[in-house]
Subunit: 226 residues, 6 copies
């Protein structure tokens, strides 16, 4: 099985050693079961800090995005070094470099690629390029909800949906928009659909359950391309 | 003034020596008036030919896009060599390479950057990165129309519009969608808006009028970011 | 066994899906029998088209050759993507890059390297660098003839010859010169001789017979270095 | 005059917009007076944060240093984008890349180069490579003191000293060691001596006085190679 | 076991074919016993010749060092080509390139990395980056002596010592300083200590005994990090 | 005027400081008169030494040539550093890198490019790529002779000839073949002819006369493309 794991920048903000140890174990387990894995990291608080300072000094949007990309690459190097016995030690800086490094058989870890592009889109492009079976979005919620769980106590997690439904949830329900949009922007969905990639949304606090979530045996959402 | 000129792949399909000579003159005129220029080329028929063959052989979408990108780079090299006394002779392959080459003071010519991305988006990213005054889309129609001019004899060219109006034209009028969409996809419009780049749509057959079109003295459409 | 397969640009001009499927099968068969393989592609019609346009616009010979080289790289990427499960996905741009990529154990596919150099010479250099057992020239004729088969109905294919004889055929017989010269220019022959590489000339329409042709059991010419 | 400005990582930790504006003005003033400038940035708190996390997870020393280096490059990109109209937009990753970019005539901004090496040594190497007139160390103290000013109210700033005296201060006075050592480690001093580079130690809060400090007209220390 | 072998430039000056054949055999034996190996080469007489000429012509210290580095890379390429069936054929030019190439599983051969840095330090950095079990310094003496064996007939080889003792030997005994210093400069010792790398000093004339020397069964010195 | 200066490897073997000082002066004079200059260096004795050792150890022809190329690049770096205030400090490793560096406006210095190719061919390719007015071959004889001046006291220097005559001299007169062949091999002549580059053959001992030799006012041979 070929998997792409997109880890939200928030994961790194928590600076939680236990989470990183869990991630390390999960990656080794995935690999040991004869799967291949690519990881895409978000930029998180480091990205926001640098972008904020630079914006105040009049830096343009393309360069602000590049600062966020360099911050996400710092997170990528952190993972590459933690996983050094199974990972590739150079973070690719664009899809062509990614494709070349993928040949190595190692876990390839990448941050952002270019301005105007979310790390979700990077993860979708990477999934497409390697023909991934699943793109796993590890974030700070348990999956896709019908309403924003932060505001509605009766919000329900949707365990299975397709991208048509996903788009409707995103458009109809203003309240969940922001959070979910971060998961999958329109370009990422388009790529998922054209290459028919299955997507899993899950909480990064339960990374050790990822293979069970794929099987539908643990809490999370599975999105099928329409 | 800093200008980005996006030339449709169709321009190259015509293999029209006169058009290329006109392009050469136009570029030299633009430069001589103390402007700086970047050019982005589409892939055209060469791209479509390679994509068609590869698709029949089961190549994935990411790699199909890469074939189109390599074809657009071939068009970019053609221009770079034709313009060799003012152009930079290496075609950048991503925005970071572009930004570095732009330092040289030369005309930088680029094709596509990565899968899942139109050359219009490349041109918008390039415009943003250099703080372009105008992004010029040179294509095979005279500008943005209220209806598809291929089907409606009463279609009218819109000389000035903003991106809100542009989106409406694109959404309401199915008939013009395909053609115009090629000019500016949603991501390109988003970049144009966030960095407030003015866009000119014009016919590549009248490239020699480009500076007049910018001034509003010749046929073409000028799009303001909303 | 280490093999280098040089595929004439004409192969790509035919845009023949069946031929490409046959090539794919042949490559996989060669690999499966524990051989290693490098492929060198010609530029074909795409190269000629771009060179013709550029020449009319006064582009110099070095840059004309570079356009041909970029076109041959497009053919190389086409093959790399078609063969994606066994091939290396980055086309090397010079012999040092080739040598480094060869380490990967994959099928390495390359187009031209530099101006003033035929793709036959590229194939000879590649053969020399990896210590190839055979350099296979797949072209649109069945082998080396004593006379030009297009003009002489009594032309006979020479199944075995050495490079001294090859040079004589090339020099004495004006009529076959053009066609054969394309196969092996003087520099390519010099490299073949100095590194004692055996050469097979065969028709790309019968690529599936390549291992039999090497054994001398099928139609083709085998050239021994003198 | 050719100047190398090494900015302590602490400068970036303060996230002080005013300081960055002052730095921007200072750089433009230096350039406008026909001087050339290279800047070397420390890693600061971002570096320490990533190193701390990675160390707890058993990452080796070489990779810990690389995380610090990537953090310092993030600071370098921040400056490159803030100074985009005079700076080179690509941060060099080793001395050979630095030397090549220096040809551009722009302000080159670099972070760390490699493990086991302080950014002070990077700054010394850069100074040597370009034949700098002064290496300016901008830090959070006003210069070199005879005692540690944090503990001794009678500590005196030494306005002029040579590297022999500097070594003595560093060795004899335990209390100032840590802080000053950060300024100049033994390898950096060795490079300064062998290439006879003059060094200025100053407070980054008064960057606008740098040209006066060089002249000896403002508070700071000037170190002559022995 | 992971080993780093640093070969003194003097080894190459002797142009001794027998020594190179012995080296080739030793490398293959090391590999065949399931160890991994990196090799670092000194510059030797070629380096000194180019540095001498350039110095007379006023070239600066950074560039002089680069000439020495390029000469050491020439020695590295010589070994890479001699060992072509087990070695990586591209000589890395800095630690980041080294780390990436190490992924290949091949013997990686490198010369110097940057000015102001001994090849011993390069070897220490490489050892640290890969977590080497032993750093082997192959030179023209049999190990570390208590006195300079060239001047004192009663000089005794010290078979085991730690880095504290090593520093004392280097400092107290002027006579051996020059020679030994070449083996391990202060920065190299610092890296060895912080990453706890064991060091073997041995004669390159007995390279075939290297595995025995590591075990303490043959003449040489083993240095433990203090 | 655009000039390419090819300096024989023998020039470097002499390790003659006076010659290098003269070269430095000549380069500066050429530049100061508003000409542009590229320099191509041979490998000389360093190349021969490394090739000899490697050949005895069974290294293949492609890799032997690469050793020669790396040696020629060492000579190129020597010149780049000696000429550091007017030269580009990175030696290009292939024609595409050369073309890109040429944009800088500096003196670009290059060694060999690839196996199977003389440095004369490199110089011809470089001349073609930049549209050189003259390719100057600086060697250890004064020009092209009708007979080998080492053996025939009545040998006469031919001040002006075309490439047809040159080929005849090379073919008819066995005795001069070796020496002259080194100057211009068949591929180099082919490139000179197709791009109509004028060639000057002169003695590197009189480099300071180069502009006079071009004018025909000093001893040397001028070869016109036929």
């Amino acid at each position: 099985m070929k998997l792409v794991l997109k880890i939200s920048g928030k994961f790194f903000d928590e600076e939680n050693i236990e989470s990183l140890i869990k991630l390390k174990k999960t990656v080794k387990q995935i690999i040991s079961e004869n799967n291949r894995l690519a990881i895409v990291t978000g930029g998180g608080a480091t990205a926001r800090k640098y972008i904020k300072i630079a914006r105040e000094l009049g830096v343009n949007e393309a360069h602000l995005d590049l600062l966020g990309i360099w911050a996400s690459r710092l997170n990528a190097y952190l993972l590459a070094f933690i996983l050094s016995d199974v990972s590739y030690m150079k973070v690719p800086e664009n899809i062509e470099e990614f494709i070349e490094r993928w040949e190595s058989g190692k876990v390839i870890i990448t941050g952002g690629f270019q301005p105007g592009q979310s790390t979700a889109t990077v993860a979708a492009l990477v999934s497409e390029a390697i023909g991934a079976d699943y793109l796993i979005l590890a974030t700070n919620v348990d999956g896709v909800y019908d309403k924003d769980p932060r505001y509605y106590t009766d919000a329900k997690l949707i365990p299975r949906l397709d991208t048509v439904t996903l788009r409707k949830v995103l458009e109809s329900s203003q309240s969940v928009k922001a959070g979910t949009y971060e998961l999958l922007d329109p370009l990422a969905i388009k790529i998922i659909e054209r290459s028919r990639i299955k997507v899993v949304v899950m909480n990064y606090k339960r990374l050790d359950k990822v293979l069970d979530i794929i099987k539908g045996n643990e809490i999370g959402s599975i999105i099928e391309p329409a």
